[in-house]
Every structure is written in structure tokens, then in C-alpha cells.
């Protein structure tokens, strides 16, 4: 089965016919993560690790993030992300290539330039959604 957090970047809309209504509802509301607490925990932890790792996301270079030390100030503090970006696809898009939103941004295009894999981006997004 599909692991939460490992969804392909452009996840096809789930075909309702093969899913129970409850499951389809969970998916479309983005509740899959919270419906599987144990597995979700591990991708959240992995996402945090990747976000803080200097050789991976190194997001703290520019962003203040809860739980991190020595944050930079180039980007906004990452708080209330879940409220600000209820749709995880928006976060995925920002991580894949932030220059699409803002051609002059200093944020590196993590997906486009293969700094992070799709799987890693998804784990980081799981983590961001806890902020």
C-alpha cells in the first residue's frame, strides 16, 4: 500500500471505485497522515532530520524552525505552516522549485536541481505540516 508521505509528487487522483468511501474521504481531506500515527511519526522525524541536515535540506541556513539551532534570517520563520498551506501540494511545489512562485527567490530549487529526491521532499513536507 501507499506509504503516507511517499506519495509521488503529482499523485493521480485516487480512483474512487477501488477505494472505500471512508478511505477516499481520508485521502481527499489529506487525513492519511493522521490516520496512521506510527508510520507518520517516522516520516515526520525523517523529514525533520532531512530539513536540519547541512548536507540535505539545510533549511536552517535561511529559516527559523522549531527544534533547530542557529537559524538564519534570509527566509521567513516556518510557523503555522499547516494553516498557511492546508494543501500539501503547495508545499511540495515550493520545495521542488521555489523560483516558479518567485523567479528572484534565493531559495534553492531542491527538486529541480536534485538536491532532494521526491521521497525526501515528501518527508520534509510531512514535517512542515506539524509546524
Amino acid at each position: 500500500m501507499m506509504q503516507p508521505g511517499n506519495a509521488p509528487l503529482k499523485s493521480p487522483r485516487p480512483r474512487k471505485s477501488v477505494l472505500t468511501p471512508a478511505c477516499a474521504l481520508a485521502l481527499s481531506l489529506g487525513l492519511l497522515v493522521s490516520s496512521l500515527p506510527a508510520a507518520a511519526q517516522s516520516t515526520v522525524a525523517e523529514g525533520q532530520r532531512l530539513a536540519f541536515d547541512r548536507g540535505k535540506g539545510n533549511c536552517l541556513t535561511c529559516h527559523d524552525i522549531k527544534g533547530g539551532t542557529l537559524p538564519g534570517t534570509i527566509g521567513p520563520a516556518l510557523i503555522d505552516i499547516k494553516t498557511k498551506y492546508p494543501d500539501r501540494n503547495e508545499l511540495v511545489a515550493i520545495l521542488v522549485d521555489a523560483t516558479k512562485r518567485n523567479p528572484l527567490t534565493v531559495m534553492p530549487p531542491f527538486g529541480r536541481n536534485r538536491l532532494l529526491t521526491d521521497k525526501e521532499i515528501n518527508a520534509i513536507v510531512d514535517f512542515l505540516q506539524t509546524l
Binding site: L70, I74, T99, V106, P108, L115
Partner: protein, 285 residues
Amino acid sequence: MRSAIRFASIGLALAALAFAGAPAAAADTVDPVADAKAFKKFFTDKFPKVKLEDFVNGPYSMDEDLYRQWQEKEQFPPYEFSLELGKEMFAKPFKNGKSYEDCFPNKGIGIRQNYPYFDEKEGKVVTLELALNRCREANGEPPFSYVRDEMAALTAYMAFTSRGKPFDIKIPNDPRALAAYENGKEYFYTRRGQLNFSCATCHVQSPGERIRAEVLAPALGILNAMPIYRSEWSGMGTTSRRFTTCNSQIRGVPFNPQDDEYRNVEYYLSYVSNGLPISGPGARP
């Protein structure tokens, strides 16, 4: 690909340096005088409280607490040892009896503000570090490493004897000089490497911001304090060392010190800081 990069770099230059007022037709002609004016205006508009001559203090000009720390540090400057060594080295004759003073105008004293210059015979930019090594080689001495202590000591001494003199970089009426300037400028604004950074991403778009614990220096006056003592390096760093370090930090491929690209970018950055005083050697956190 190439045109996409150009587009991005020009877009950045336009956005960052507000060339908007320039007539469209002039957009493609190289106008260093107008560049330097727009460049200064960009930084003085962005930091209205910082005095023009204070930009040479790099990160310290951006933050009042840091500025105070810096003034305390200047009581016992950590570059003192390097300055002493440089003075000694500069005075000591080569094996052939000549010395550095024979290679430079005014015996090498008080001339830092004129480097880099465009050498019309060679058709290229000559930096102070390069001129020092050429002086050594012309006198039968092996060149120094561009990134190590000896070069830092010599340039520290030469900067010290030039303190307070305004940068006075000339672009002679030679199309190759203008091209070197333009190439340096293009290098400075072109994003590259996996992280998609240009020099301007950090030093034009984000000066005063913290990148982890480091406060980014503004590009205006960024070379006036070179060479610098950095606590993080527990030692001195030349301009070559700083350029190559910045380049490898962004996972870009650094060139070799004194490759044409770096000579040109030093020419561009020094020219647009014309009028700001030499303050080297400097000390940094």
C-alpha cells in the same frame, strides 16, 4: 539554457539595482559610471542609516551590536601579527638584492586603492596578489600560494599603508577593459551551481541577513577591507581565499585563484566601490 541564465541574471540585476530609469535603448550598452552610481544608490537606499564609508566594514556595518564588538576588537586587532610579518617580508631583499619596492609605483606604499588595474599590454586585469607573485617570479623567487598566510601578510601590509585612500579603479578606453568589467559583472549576477546562487544572491539580495550565524556583508565596499582575519578560520584570508570559499560553500565549482573570472569579478566589485576608503586589513567574526 544559456539564454535562461542570462535572462535570470539580467532580471536580477534590473530588479536589484533599479536600472528602471535608464532608457530602454541604453540597456545593452556598458556604462560603468551609471552602474557604479546605481550600485551605491541601491545600498544607501536599502540601509539609509549606514554612512557610505562605513560599508567597508562588511557585516559590522549591518548590525549595531556587531559594530560595537568590532570597535572593541580593533583595540587589539587580531591581524596585528600578519601586519608585522608583511612589513618584514616587504622590506627583506630577494636573493638577487632587489625587493618588492622595485616592482611597484611609489615603492609599493599607499597604492592598494589602484588595484586591480587593467594592463593594456597584457589585455587583462592584474590584481595586487597577481602583481606580487609576478614580482617574485621576475626576481627568481617562487610564487606564494594565493590563499595562504604569506600572501595575506604582504597584502595586509600594502593595504595598511593605503588606509583611508579611496578606491580609484580606472577603466581605460580599451574595448578589452570594458569587456573584462562586463564579464566580471555578469559573473557576479549569474546564478550557478546546484543551489542556484549568484554572488549577488547573498551580497546584494541578502546583506545584513543571517545565514546560520554569519551576517552577510553588502557587496558595496566588500573588497576594501581585504585581506581579513576571520575567527572562523583562526587566521588570515586573502581575496582569493574568500572568493574560492564562497564558491565552494554554494557547491559550485571554484576556479583556480587568479583565473580570469575571479580577476574580472574583482575588477567589477572594486570599480563599483570607487570612492570608498581602503580599510584593510580587516577583522571579521
